[in-house]
Assembly symmetry: C2
Homo-oligomer: 207 residues x 2
DNA sequence: CAACATACTGAACAGATGTTCAATGCGCAA
DNA sequence: TTGCGCATTGAACATCTGTTCAGTATGTTG
């Protein structure tokens, strides 16, 4: 009897919570809001998830699963890793642009996850940072990335630059007039990033 | 009769709201929380600011004023702008590290401002972006920054990389083991940024 | 058919929250 | 002193919110 799609009411509730939590923040969303969005009674939300906190945990777990699948799919993809291309540039940002639909609730939720200070976000960042380290090492072994004395800081720098595009993407779209999470916007952004990472941003007056 | 410092109760309330809003988000902070933090009664909060929304607006306005002063001071400072040094690198991030105390409530609040999607954050970003554009132009005229076909995207890229360090600074501190908003952490971070912006991050195999 | 498990509803409740308001204290001018 | 204006309090109120629960429907198993 679900109106929208052929998904269980439980999944419907979880999806609504994911979207609303991302848009307004969990504290500004009531159980009744979620129930109304999912077209069910408030009681059913608690019936399936025990409590609002339980629902938050379930949404967190679901998002982590989605990310895991996304990364796993990307790693298995022969075109993505271990090729001759510089991988940190077309890292998370391009992965997002290719895998995540236009109006996906994931980016807003990711924003909250990384900036709310909760342990789930910390775990996620840590996980991605480890991945960035190994990716950079692989690129270094392939001769694509310069040697640097501060390996950790360099990996963090490149990764954070990448993440920033996702976190600030609305502002960037406002500023440069193109949404960097669309295909063409990503090309424009990647062009600049590639240029800087290849040639730097400053002139060398001494060379 | 204020216990903490020699500030008016009104300012005390505003400061507490700023700190608590930044830490937990406005929706998770009650009027009673703020009153307790400021050592006053809940009624006084509403007496001074009309409503909770009024207090939020007042905090926003206060933060905007602080940023204006910070930027105005930096622009007037002969050592900061219009020198021969590359300015976008030691832009907002270093400005923050030098002007903002260790446990300042500003960074957490700035995070919420930029990522909550409200118009104040949008204004702030826009404002800083315009500043970045003029700064980059000045550097270009001075011969410090390379010519680039996509001026807007380049300025946005450099600025966003800088902002990211502030937004993600807890995560970065976790990952690399040094807080990039301290003096030594900033030096480490700036070293990497300077290196990349001067020499790039990739090797050129064709040169 | 009967018994049961499960999905689901909607009313009800206790506590929290934003807000109002009458009352109090206090400094200051007349 | 008297009176006025402002800061401040704390109780009270209406509403909202998370949660509980008794009850209904439906499909499944014996």
């Amino acid at each position: 009897m679900t109106s929208e799609r052929d998904v269980t009411a439980r999944a419907q509730i979880r999806n609504c919570a994911l979207r609303l939590f991302g848009e307004r923040g969990p504290d500004a969303v009531t159980v009744r809001d979620i129930a109304a969005c999912a077209g069910v009674s408030p009681g059913l939300v608690l019936h399936h998830f025990g409590s609002k906190q339980g629902l938050r945990d379930a949404v967190d777990a679901h998002v982590m699963t989605l990310f895991d699948e996304m990364l796993a799919g990307a790693i298995e993809d022969p075109d993505a890793f271990a090729s001759g291309e510089p991988q940190v540039v077309k890292g998370f940002a391009e992965l997002f642009a290719s895998q995540v639909p236009q109006d996906s609730p994931i980016p807003p939720y990711l924003r909250r996850l990384l900036l709310s200070g909760d342990p789930v976000g910390r775990t996620l960042f840590r996980q991605w940072f480890e991945l960035s380290l190994t990716a950079m090492d692989a690129m270094g072994a392939g001769g694509n990335v310069r040697f640097t004395p501060d390996r950790d800081a360099m990996a963090a720098f490149l990764m954070v630059n990448d993440l920033a595009m996702i976190l600030l993407h609305d502002h960037i779209a406002d500023a440069i007039g193109t949404d960097p999470l669309t295909q063409e916007g990503m090309q424009r952004w990647a062009a600049v990033a590639f240029d800087v990472y290849l040639n730097g941003a400053f002139t060398k007056e001494d060379s």
